[in-house]
């Protein structure tokens, strides 16, 4: 008999990472089905209501109250988990080395008088107000918060534009300014590439792949995912583009995004034409060739092509689409020969469990091109050529799931910072006799889990003990300079027999070939 218990801590504020850390620890306790810890904002309460956990106590909580909600096998285990969370939150000791405590933007400006950027990551209901206050103090803004109303986004971006400032976001997870990573960003060498992007993990993939080719990145301006809607008009994308064009350290500009709405697309392409530097454009899902002008602009199809073409340009000054299918064909032949011999006939399907939203989207794009017309690919991302899965908790046929999507992260940590949900799903997929291959990504860098592989160690151990073989294909979006250290992580996975691919695109291609028992020749036509 399951028990749901709620506890409210009045008048105590903790940020969402601190709360999720407590929830994540509680989720590992005995008998806990789900433990969640939220601030009692209206948005959080409506999310709780959607999943049927909005008890009368939670309903009455205010934005500066903490709601603890635990679903456990017994009342006793639920009570224990609540007390455990209370203790963790109470113990949360600040590590700030600050000599002064600031509580407002104006106050903080007395401590850093020449500040030029506000990084804002507070509940969305309050984020527009703080952004407006920051702009009034002549600060550029990186707005990490989501759930900011679109009318506020439009007003804030227009105000910033009039003042010569920029608002990156809302929902901007990744940025880099003068090689300093902000939010979720990898540690890469400084260099001549400037990125403007409406995609966090897309930006990370491009910066990582350029770095691995010996080419550094100076800036990455995140726009937030709605900037490319006609109602917003690409204000941040266009201002960011010109900012990169003005900066003498940038030699080539890269744009990464889903395709903008029509009017914004035209506007962005017009602005690209007046840039003085070569611009490489990847509107994921839009077939390359729509804006190619020798020496000035180049369109490409994948994140991999962006990075390979940009690196090629810096090295040779030749603006040319660099396409590869795999970096190492002999290795792929060896893998395919092995997997064909070990898979059982009923093992037919790819199961992709992603942390990166753009990685899911790009993999879906690539895999749907490789599958036979009779085969269906189910996803929870909105992409033509794939089918929208009704229940994202239940795979069917070939399935790719963005586990960072809202339906998986309501009150639970994102898979970039905690693997609990992905581990559960992984264990479910390896028990399915129809699973032919698991496709999984890991995103390293600032902000991400410090040791995601260890977080999944139990799952990998169970996978090793299976009485049949299910190949795992992965891609690590990271560098040797990241806190997680790519060079240590790759051998750890390879020693387990996991196939580690150099790009998300190549991981997707390999998974598709394994599941379909295909061969390289079909991709080389």
């Amino acid at each position: 008999m399951f028990s749901v218990k709620t506890h409210i801590i009045r008048q105590l504020y903790r940020d969402s990472v601190q709360l999720m850390r407590a929830a994540s620890a509680a989720n590992k306790l005995e008998g806990i089905k789900i433990a969640s810890v939220f601030m009692g904002t209206p948005k959080n309460k409506s999310l709780l209501e959607e999943v049927g956990l909005l008890t009368p106590e939670a309903q009455n909580a205010k934005s500066n109250d903490i709601i603890i909600s635990v679903h456990a096998d017994t009342k006793s285990n639920a009570s224990k988990a609540i007390q455990y969370i209370i203790d963790l939150i109470s113990q949360e000791v600040t590590t700030l080395k600050e000599v002064a405590i600031y509580r407002s933007i104006r106050g903080a400006l007395t401590g850093l008088t020449d500040a030029n950027l506000a990084v804002i990551s507070i509940p969305g209901e309050f984020a527009a107000r703080e952004t407006r206050l920051a702009l009034e103090q002549n600060l550029n803004v990186m707005l990490f918060s989501d759930n900011v109303p679109i009318e506020d986004e439009i007003a804030l971006k227009n105000k910033a534009h009039e003042e010569g400032l920029i608002v990156m976001g809302p929902d901007c997870g990744t940025a880099m300014i003068k090689n300093v990573g902000l939010g979720f960003a990898n540690v890469v060498m400084p260099g001549p590439i400037g990125i403007v992007a409406a995609s966090g993990t897309g930006t990370q993939e491009v910066m990582v792949l350029c770095h691995q080719r010996g080419i550094g990145v100076t800036h990455a301006i995140g726009t937030g995912s709605r900037d490319i809607k006609d109602s917003v008009g690409g204000v941040t994308m266009i201002d960011g583009l010109h900012g990169l064009d003005h900066d003498p350290t940038v030699q080539s500009i890269v744009i990464v995004s889903k395709p903008p709405d029509n009017k914004t697309l035209q506007k962005v392409l017009e602005e690209v034409q007046i840039c003085s530097k070569p611009v490489i454009i990847n509107f994921l899902g839009k077939k390359a060739g729509y804006c190619d002008h020798p020496g000035k602009t180049l369109t490409v199809n994948t994140l991999e092509e962006v990075a390979y073409s940009a690196s090629h340009f810096i090295q040779s000054k030749e603006l040319k689409r660099i396409s590869v299918i795999f970096d190492d064909y002999e290795e792929i032949k060896r893998i395919l020969s092995k997997t064909k011999s070990i898979l059982m006939p009923e093992q037919k399907y790819i199961r992709g469990l992603f942390a990166g939203g753009t990685f899911t989207y790009e993999a879906a794009m690539i895999i749907s091109d490789i599958l036979r017309p009779t085969e269906s690919l189910w996803t929870n991302v909105n992409l033509g050529g794939t089918k929208q899965i009704e229940n994202p908790n239940m795979s069917r046929e070939h399935t790719l799931i963005d586990m960072g999507a809202d339906e998986f992260t309501v009150g639970k940590p994102h898979p970039m910072i905690d693997q609990t949900e992905r581990t559960r799903r992984f264990l479910k997929e390896i028990k399915d006799p129809q699973t032919a291959v698991i496709l999984i990504d890991f995103v390293f860098g600032w902000g991400s889990h410090i040791d995601p592989l260890t977080d999944m160690q139990d799952a990998f151990t169970q996978w090793e003990l299976l009485d049949r073989n299910i190949p795992i294909v992965t891609h690590l979006c990271g560098t040797e300079l990241d806190p997680q250290d790519l060079n240590k992580s790759i051998p750890t996975l390879e020693d387990l027999g996991i196939y580690v691919m150099p790009t998300n695109a190549q991981a997707a291609r390999l998974a598709a070939l394994i599941a379909t028992r295909g061969d390289l020749n079909q991709l080389m036509k």
């Binding site: 904002t41 934005s63 500066n64 600040t94 903080a108 107000r129």
Partner: protein, 56 residues
């Protein structure tokens, strides 16, 4: 665009409002940063906050 251009040429000097972990990663990267210990204003009541903003 001049303030954006200046940000790109001089590098970020950050006021961090919200996640403490973002402040810590700025500190680790050695850039000038201060952290604002933000809490929902007006006791977390958006209506009251909107009223206060109009009055001030």
């Amino acid at each position: 665009m001049e303030k954006l251009d200046k940000l790109l040429s001089t590098g970020p000097k950050v006021l961090n409002i919200g996640l403490q972990s973002f402040y810590e990663s700025c500190e680790t990267q050695g850039i000038p940063t201060v952290h604002i210990r933000w809490e929902p204003p007006a006791q977390g009541n958006p209506e009251l906050l909107s009223l206060l903003d109009k009055l001030l």
